[in-house]
Symmetry: C2
Subunit: 96 residues, 2 copies
């Protein structure tokens, strides 16, 4: 592997697995008020497309990584969708 491909692989690993601590926190606390719904919809669709891309290329590292992150992302998205009305943080911050 060249330096460039190692940097690319570490970058891909970090940006793909970054959702693991977010999923852990969201499952543990059930707190979704600060999370953006469009972000998790985009991530869910994006992960499904990465999964399709990995399957088409028979690339097991893409298939496995996006399967794990897709499942974690789905849990975050589900908890955001069932968020109780009024607990969202869309209101602007109050002046101190």
């Amino acid at each position: 592997m060249t330096t460039v491909s190692i940097i690319g692989a570490i970058a891909a690993l970090l940006t793909t697995t970054a959702y693991v601590p977010q999923a852990y926190k969201t499952i543990k606390t059930r707190s979704t008020a600060s999370l953006s719904l469009p972000t998790y919809i985009m991530l869910f669709i994006g992960t499904c497309l990465w999964e399709a891309y990995g399957l088409m290329l028979h690339d097991w590292s893409i298939i496995f990584t996006n399967l794990v992150c897709g499942l974690l992302g789905s849990v975050i998205l589900y908890l955001k969708l069932i968020e109780k009305p009024g607990t969202d943080a869309d209101a602007p911050a109050q002046p101190q």
Copy 2:
């Protein structure tokens, strides 16, 4: 472009730009309680490495996308780091 490369490109675009609505919401509401600090540290380092990868390959689409998303991610990370103590949502959800 083949179908596979189009799917890969859309997947990359969605998972990279998914942070735009999160950054908009976080900047607007200043609410960071539900956000996971390790997630945004990993995304920040990952985006910096993607930027280095793009610069090494002179790939302007990678450079531009990660510059925008790196800046947005930095703002989210900064707002999370200056979060007031006691506003974090690490406490388990209360039974209803």
